[in-house]
């Protein structure tokens, strides 16, 4: 073999080897992915949550469970889900306070304000919008919607610029002080993909929260949607939230 032939063969050999290696890698990856795909197919689902406002007793168990399950910082101003107390006064004013930040004392009854016409609790969380504004504004594509309709944040790509926190009309995102990245409710994605309920739904003592799959024909949430008068938060923004509120007061924003 002379020098010229050797170089010719070498030029052909290396790219060909590269192609073969890449092809074999892809084939192996496909084999490995196949059993996982048959166990859980995200395209079969479109997750949502129902909240029955009339049933919430403002016990904050959902907030505690969420923090325990998802490692949300303990400080009472980082929340993936939280509960608000709305008070409608006789002069037409509405006041909102977050009872997860400042829970009511349990050893005594607060004196009643006679000016309050009605008062109730509203649990809040990420609405997992079908058209999420937070996904649109992310400059690095770190936040995205999965095929089953859950909006996730990739903490490895997130640069912590806080655009999404500003863009969320529901105030559902916060900057995690440990990772310095945006964080939010994931519907407990690691639980629901295994067939478990999200932690907040699991512990809710009055079944004020219902979790389900909007693609399921006989699903609990679909039934919930059928038998209740459903409203969503800020429908005028066309975000199409998948957190559905039953018997929601018109004052709730």
């Amino acid at each position: 073999m002379n020098k010229r032939e050797f170089l010719k063969d070498a030029i052909l050999f290396f790219p060909a080897a590269g192609v073969l290696q890449a092809l074999s890698c892809q084939a192996a990856a496909k084999d490995a992915a196949a059993p996982a795909a048959s166990a859980y197919d995200p395209t079969d689902h479109w997750y949502g949550m129902g909240v029955d406002v009339d049933k919430c007793i403002g016990c904050n168990r959902c907030v505690e469970a969420c923090k325990a399950e998802n490692g949300v910082p303990d400080e009472p101003f980082y929340f993936r889900t939280w509960v608000e107390r709305y008070s409608i006064h006789s002069n037409g004013e509405t006041t909102v306070e977050c009872i997860s930040t400042k829970p009511a004392p349990v050893d005594q009854v607060a004196p009643e304000d006679p000016g309050i016409v009605r008062t109730f609790f509203v649990p809040k969380l990420c609405n997992q919008c079908a058209h999420p504004p937070c996904v649109q504004v992310c400059p690095v594509g770190a936040t995205f919607q999965t095929k089953d309709g859950v909006v996730l944040v990739d903490e490895k790509r997130c640069i912590g610029c806080r655009y999404c926190i500003q863009a969320c009309p529901y105030g559902a995102r916060y900057l995690n002080p440990n990772t310095r990245t945006a964080d939010k409710c994931t519907f407990c994605y690691h639980r629901i993909t295994k067939g478990l309920l999200p932690a907040c739904v699991e512990v809710c003592p009055t079944e004020a929260r219902i979790f389900g799959d909007l693609k399921g024909k006989a699903d609990r949430l679909v039934r919930f949607q059928r038998v209740n008068k459903i409203a969503v938060l800020k429908p005028d923004l066309n975000t199409e939230p998948k957190v559905l509120y039953a018997d929601l007061d018109g004052e709730v924003r």
Binding site: A22, E69, V106, I116, Y189, P205
Partner: protein, 246 residues
């Protein structure tokens, strides 16, 4: 025709460079350099692999069927075990991993059962300073099947304020059902099946119209034809405390 050698050489070089570029772009370099999809797939996998801390109520039943069934028959049937006992996936996987806590303090129960005006009507609540202030709840109530010593049978269980007001009034002896029709559904979903209010003047007129003989209403006889004809009685008179206390 034979191409000049310069052209063939140049052509070979161009084709080679093109081949290398295409090879780099589509085969050798990973897709994650050009598209967000692999990152997202990796994130979804990482998210799915996160550890579960709440095992779910059904997994407790395998070993604790007795407590589970007692709870299932009672008022706490909808409450998951881990609501009170805390996240217990570790204990469910391996019982030697430590026992879940049993909260026995009064404050724990009061987290749900202390009176707050924003809580829905009908939810069992107590005034913590008046209801056995020194005792733990679990001394009298079994948390797996909490039956109150006296089950509220009447409307006062939820409408205590109205009941107390009425007890001081001239209407103390009238039952709620005298004026309101309450359906069974109202006990289950209070705001969805509201009780009726009297929608005719005759409802009050049965006792208060001139010509009726009930001695209890003797001091409040009204000529129904002349007194406030365009109103229902309760639009002016508060029937739970008519014209002040006795």
């Amino acid at each position: 025709m034979r191409l000049p050698e310069q052209v063939t050489r140049l052509g070979t070089v161009i084709v080679a460079i093109l081949a290398i570029v295409l090879l780099l772009r589509f085969v050798i370099l990973p897709e994650s350099l050009f598209s967000a999809r692999p990152h997202q797939a990796a994130k979804v996998e990482r998210e799915m692999a996160k550890p579960v801390r709440y095992a779910g109520a059904t997994s407790c039943r395998k070993c604790h069927a007795e407590q589970f069934d007692a709870k299932y028959g009672g008022a706490h049937r909808n409450i998951g075990c881990e609501n009170c006992h805390g996240p217990s996936a570790g204990h469910a996987a391996d019982e030697k991993a430590g026992k879940p806590p049993k909260p026995r303090e009064r404050e724990f129960c009061l987290g749900c059962h202390a009176y707050q005006s924003a809580r829905p009507n009908g939810f069992p609540q107590v005034d913590p300073q008046k209801h056995k202030p020194k005792k733990r709840c679990v001394t009298c109530h079994d948390p797996h099947d909490p039956v109150p010593p006296e089950t509220p049978q009447d409307c006062g269980g939820c409408h205590g304020r109205i009941e107390r007001t009425k007890a001081l009034s001239d209407h103390a002896l009238l039952a709620c059902a005298e004026c309101h029709q309450v359906t069974e559904q109202h006990m289950i979903r209070p705001r969805q099946a509201l009780p009726t209010k009297p929608d005719t003047r005759e409802s009050c007129g049965r006792c208060h119209a001139v010509g009726t003989t009930d001695p209890a209403a003797a001091k409040a006889r009204i000529d129904m034809a002349r007194h406030g004809r365009s109103f229902l009685c309760w639009q002016c008179h508060y029937a739970h405390l008519p014209e002040g206390p006795k």
